[in-house]
């Protein structure tokens, strides 16, 4: 079905869950009033990014009032949002929820926690261990959190699991000032466009903005059609409320025009990966 999408390109406050929840609620209300069907927030929208030792303080269990409030709000509009999740056995995950009709449709825990350069996630957070697609009102969806998307296998698995929409929640820092455009922005634009094209999926990318300790998050949230074409792109470096009409017909036409997913041979892939895993195991 066609639907109206909002990419909420917000500027979370570092470690301020109550303030961020208030901002998020306002955006949800605004989106709902505008007749939108789905609103996507960035990675760690509820807490901010460079948390370090704040992780246990800002972490929320699924039964916490904040998460329950978000679930409640999803009665009016579907919501994808990132937060730090605390589990019953006291692990802390960089997680994303997909909420719809007052229920959790899916919980994804970031699998690839970058720990290089300016990133230090694995020091503070526990790794997720699966990529699963799930059904929504808008078809089958796969959730990715930022670095997850830099691993081809993640998007591939979700597409093979039937996802036709990939939603990526991001907190991507700005770096690289020598090119025509920002280095990290152009790298991401190539990645999301290529992923959409290879997997005949639409990609909904939501990145945050603002600064944390001098590090800028560049925004540029984007809806990429299954052809790889950018349909709408949010402002660079500034808050934005990106609205797009998502066209179901474009997905169908693209899948007829370039049926790579139809022809993809999962069994060849499995056989070869199995062989490689076996060899490495010895």
């Amino acid at each position: 079905m066609d639907f109206t999408l909002i990419l909420a390109q917000i500027k979370p406050k570092l470690g301020c869950v109550a303030d961020n929840l208030a901002t998020i609620e306002k955006k949800i209300t605004k989106a709902r009033d505008a007749g939108a069907d789905l609103i996507v927030f960035p990675e760690l929208a509820l807490s901010g990014y460079f948390l370090k030792d704040l992780v246990p303080e800002v972490a929320r269990r699924i039964d916490s009032p904040e998460i329950q409030r978000l679930i409640e709000l999803s009665r009016g509009i579907s919501i994808a949002i990132g937060f730090v999740e605390e589990t019953a056995d006291y692990l802390f995950h960089n997680s994303a929820l997909y909420l719809e009709d007052g229920a959790i449709k899916h919980l994804h825990r970031k699998v690839y926690l970058p720990t290089y350069g300016l990133f230090d996630e694995q020091r503070y957070l526990a790794r997720g261990e699966s990529f699963r697609a799930f059904d929504t009102k808008f078809g089958r969806v796969g959730l990715l959190i930022c670095e997850d998307m830099w691993h081809l296998s993640a998007s591939y698995i979700l597409a093979m699991d039937g996802a036709t929409t990939l939603i990526c929640l991001s907190s991507s820092p700005a770096r690289g000032i020598d090119g025509d455009t920002l280095g990290s922005a152009s790298a991401w634009q190539k990645l999301t466009s290529t992923t959409a094209m290879f997997l005949n999926c639409r990609v909904l990318y939501c990145n945050r903005v603002g600064f944390e300790d001098g590090v800028n998050f560049w925004g540029g949230s984007e809806y990429i059609a299954p052809s790889g074409e950018s349909v709408v792109r949010g402002a660079l470096l500034e808050e934005d409320f990106v609205t797009a009409r998502v066209d179901e017909g474009a997905l169908r036409r693209e899948r007829i025009f370039s049926p790579m997913m139809r022809d993809e041979n999962l069994f060849v892939t499995m056989q070869e990966l199995g062989r490689i895993a076996h060899k490495r195991g010895r």
Partner: protein, 273 residues
Amino acid sequence: MAGLIANTELLRKLLVGFVRDEVRKVGVSKVVLGLSGGIDSALVAFIAAEALGPENVHAICMPYKSSNPESEAHARLVADACGINYSIVPITPMVDAYFTTFPDADNMRRGNKMARERMTILFDHSALLRALVLGTSNKTELLLGYGTLYGDMASALNPIGDIYKSQVWQLSAAMGVPAEVIDKQPSADLWAGQTDEEELGFSYRSVDELLYRMVDQRLTKPELVSAGFDGEFIDAIYAKIQNSHFKRRLPVIAKVSNRTIDRDFRYSRDWGK
């Protein structure tokens, strides 16, 4: 060298955004900075004026009696060009009073004292004006340790600490810093006729080419040599970076507890902002 050629439009947007966001999020609307008459502080003044409005930027020129009069003239020129508040606080009385006790002090001690005297004036004005102190050290001098610890290296926020001197020149031209300030020989103006490049023994442009490859691109020494850099120059610069590293770190704390500040007690400075 592509890496040293900055996209000045993008860089300007990032640095202006940095000052605006990082200043306002702590609940402050003003900044204060020392204006030396040189290009680094001129560029920071332009960035701050664009970020916060010139009425919210206060520049202080702090000459010593041996400072080149041209420096003060250039500082005023910069302040007028970007429309910021400007005042002059000479440091001669305090610096001279101190050195009457130590008349044999050499140029280095005197230069460091002047830099630290200026720092105390800026931080006093920080309290007076409810303004954050902006730093004006660029990446080249931070890496080389060509600055005074707790002197000109002290600040609350530094917009230009991740751009090389070569990029400071480019961005200054793009932002309209007066040509007199861009074109003159860089000088710490600690004594008459001093120039940075003479004191350092190499040009900023040549060291920037090396630093970019060594630090940003992480080329190995054999790779740098085959790229045309002199082996002794590479070693000398490597040693400068290593020997000045203490200036880029907080004081070392003796660890005795389970949570030592900055080692296993880790929070961003923008905690709660």
